[in-house]
């Protein structure tokens, strides 16, 4: 019985023990489960942190790789893969996994493959793996397919108690930075060279003038050189500022509807008059205008830069052929010379600043080295394209295009008239100025007003014809190239065809020289621009003398007519022409009276 009780007690004991243990176990299970949950949470947080870190690392434009103390690659970012050509998205992961876990040596091999100073670098990188305390920085030049520069730097990665964990490498692609730096110093050295050359002449010759007794002829020669070189310096500075303004987009283009054929004619004429050694043949049809919307002065600059280049690089007596035609809504202009031609390797650089072809038999060729760069900027600002074709030894042809203007539009009315109201100062002889250059208008007006004339100015032929019979104009000073569609010659023809206006003497003011053709058109005189005020007044006075009072208007009455003419004749006045229209008799007297 006692044993039984003992058994029972033992059993109870065991049971309670078991229960206790079970409770403990449950408790421990709960702890484990809690820990597990915590761990899972931690794991998630870790993964999240890792993803965040990777995202951050991938977003920066610096290549980053980490190597642990055993020399294994444990981390690389996206930009690193990009720098070293592992940026193919499809197998990026595969490549990343091959790179990660690869040993440091193969990473280093990958890094320096293609670098020009590879050996130096390998040695340096290996050193850095033995010496985890040091940071270093260096530039690495690459020559794989293109010139590339990388800046590489490395910092040790340490635990909180300064135990080495590994090393972080940073790679920055500094190619662009290097290029900009190089361009900058090249530009500075070229500009200073271009500035010093004329400066040398100016300083040197002025020093000779100051320190030596020179003959008057020699002194004059030296002063001429100084002046010439100072002009060259000024041109260089103007051109340089021009191109800076255009490149930075600060240039404001004054766009107008222009007949480009006229611009070409003007420039060709100008150059033909200047240079006796070259012949410029313009193969464009002057009667078929081609309109563009552009800045007159700037387009003129393009043409004259290209033409002066063609002349400079052409042999004496060479022909330069200029063609202008329309093609696919574009106006295309070509300028062909018979010069040396441009070697292939120089062609791409030709439109960059200060670039000049280094020819063996280069003659004394002036210029600033900026002409073509300016042309390119202007043409591109007009939505056009500029290029060249050349056979070395046979000559070059430069082409450029500009979009043609919409043909339906006519020049805006507001552009036609400079002044709206017509104020006639009674008692003064009124002169009509037809001229589109505002500055020249101002000059002519000032000169004529000071001389006692009244003036009125319009900038187009259309404006001139509308106004001419609204006041008693004693004379017309007429430009050939005008703002509207009509040229000066069109205006002359219209004036002479109209009986009411045929008597008004016309003085042509043009940049073109007088030729045989211009004399047949019934004009009174011809002024070639630029003219000085004295020339203008001489011509105006001469024409006034010939014409004022030389025309008589009378009421038409046949008896009276005869009478008047007889009286005039008996007084020794020569009558040139008698014309009777609408009861008005017009007697033109000979200018010699």
């Amino acid at each position: 019985m006692k044993r039984r009780i003992t058994y029972r007690n033992t059993l109870i004991n065991l049971n309670s023990q078991l229960q206790r243990q079970q409770a403990e176990l449950e408790e421990q299970t709960a702890i484990v489960e809690k820990l597990h949950a915590q761990l899972e949470e931690e794991g998630q947080r870790y993964q999240q942190q890792k993803n965040t870190l990777q995202a951050i690392m991938d977003s920066i434009e610096t290549g980053i790789a980490m190597i642990d103390t055993t020399g294994k690659t444990i981390f690389i970012n996206k930009f690193w893969r990009k720098i070293f050509g592992y940026d193919n998205e499809n197998d990026a992961d595969m490549q990343a996994s091959t790179l990660i876990n690869s040993d440091a040596d193969s990473l280093i091999q990958t890094v320096v493959a293609g670098a020009t100073n590879a050996d130096d670098f390998l040695a340096k990188l290996r050193d850095s793996l033995d010496n985890f305390e040091e940071s270093y920085r260096d530039d690495l030049e690459y020559r794989e397919s293109s010139h590339r520069y990388c800046r590489i730097s490395s910092v040790p990665c340490l635990t909180t108690d300064n135990q080495a964990l590994g090393r972080v490498f940073r790679f920055r692609d500094i190619t662009r930075y290097k290029e900009i730096n190089m361009l900058k110093s090249e530009l500075i050295s070229t500009v200073s060279h271009e500035l010093r050359t004329p400066m040398s002449s100016i300083m040197g010759f002025s020093e000779l003038l100051l320190t030596r007794q020179l003959s008057p002829e020699r002194s004059r020669q030296y002063i001429e050189i100084i002046h010439e070189q100072a002009e060259r310096l000024t041109k260089l500075i103007t051109d340089f500022l021009d191109i800076q303004r255009m490149e930075s987009g600060k240039q404001v283009f004054d766009r107008q509807r222009l007949n480009f054929v006229e611009i070409v004619d003007q420039v060709c004429e100008l150059f033909n008059n200047e240079g006796e050694n070259h012949r410029i043949i313009s193969e464009c049809n002057p009667s078929k205008p081609l309109y563009v919307d552009g800045d007159h002065d700037k387009l003129l600059q393009v043409m004259s830069n290209l033409l002066s280049n063609a002349i400079k690089y052409s042999p004496q007596g060479g022909e330069i052929i200029v063609r202008v035609f329309a093609q696919d809504n574009m106006l295309q202009t070509s300028i062909a010379d018979q010069g040396l031609g441009i070697p292939e390797e120089a062609r791409t650089k030709l439109f960059s600043k200060f670039f000049r072809v280094d020819n063996d038999d280069r003659r004394e060729i002036g210029g600033t080295g900026l002409g073509l760069a300016i042309c390119k900027e202007i043409v591109q600002s007009h939505s056009g394209r500029i290029w060249l074709e050349s056979t070395y030894g046979e000559g070059s042809t430069f082409y450029f295009t500009i979009p043609l203007a919409e043909p339906a539009q006519s020049p805006s009315e507001s552009a036609l008239i400079i002044k709206e109201s017509l104020v006639v100062d009674n008692g003064k002889n009124l002169i009509l100025i037809v001229e589109d250059d505002e500055n020249l208008v101002k000059l002519i007006e000032t000169v004529l007003k000071e001389d006692g004339f009244a003036t009125y100015a319009v900038n187009s032929g259309e404006g001139a014809l509308r106004l001419v019979d609204q006041a008693d104009f004693k004379m017309i000073i007429l430009d050939i190239k005008l703002a509207g569609k009509l040229t000066g010659w069109d205006v002359v023809k219209a004036l002479k065809d109209n009986d009411k206006t045929a008597h008004i003497p016309v003085i042509i003011s043009s940049i073109y020289e007088k030729n045989a053709e211009s004399q047949t058109k019934g004009i009174s005189d011809y002024l070639v621009k630029p003219f000085i005020p004295k020339q203008l007044l001489n011509v105006v006075h001469k024409v006034m003398r010939e014409n004022v009072g030389a025309k008589m208007f009378m009421h038409g009455d046949e008896r009276l007519d005869e009478h008047v003419v007889n009286i005039l004749r008996s007084n020794g006045i020569k009558v040139k022409e008698i014309k009777s229209t609408d009861n008005i008799l017009m007697i033109t007297l000979d200018g010699d009276n």
Binding site: S192, H193, R196, S200, F205, I225
Partner: protein, 152 residues
């Protein structure tokens, strides 16, 4: 007295030689020191010859590196004044050729450079030029240097 000759092209080299001989006879056997000036800028050649006018020199001008080298061999000048930036060959290249040649290396060389940067100075020293003058230069100084170099 100084005489000037136009840039020498292929045909007139022997004429130049003859002129030199004639001139030395004219000066009573006293030989003028020959100076070759190579610069592609006409105004600068005029400046240099104008500067050297009052010395006992005879000056020959060329406008490119190739002709400079040909002329050095042809006339054996006492002094060569070289611009750096020339078509054909740079002044440094001409100078290097000259100084590497046993027969010619005694010829004195002045290099004129428009850059005047440290790197150019080093290039010039590497080319073993005897003197280096930066543009813009003072003609009075140039004359002093020339007289110093060619002085007995």
């Amino acid at each position: 007295m100084t005489k000037f000759l136009n840039p020498a092209k292929q045909d007139n080299k022997h004429i130049i030689k003859l002129l030199f001989e004639l001139r030395s006879k004219k000066t009573g056997g006293r030989k003028l020191k020959k100076i070759l000036v190579a610069d592609d800028e006409k105004s600068l050649r005029m400046l240099i010859t104008g500067t050297l006018e009052i010395g006992d020199f005879s000056v020959v001008e060329v406008d490119n590196g190739m002709d400079a080298w040909k002329m050095i061999n042809e006339i054996r000048p006492e002094l060569v004044i070289l611009d750096v930036m020339m078509p054909g060959m740079t002044g440094y290249q001409v100078c290097q050729l000259l100084k590497a040649n046993e027969e010619l290396q005694k010829i004195k060389v002045i290099i004129l450079t428009a850059k005047g940067q440290q790197s150019d100075k080093e290039d010039a020293l590497e080319a073993r030029a005897d003197f280096y003058i930066a543009k813009p230069f003072s003609p009075v100084q140039l004359l002093a240097v020339v007289e110093d170099i060619l002085g007995d």
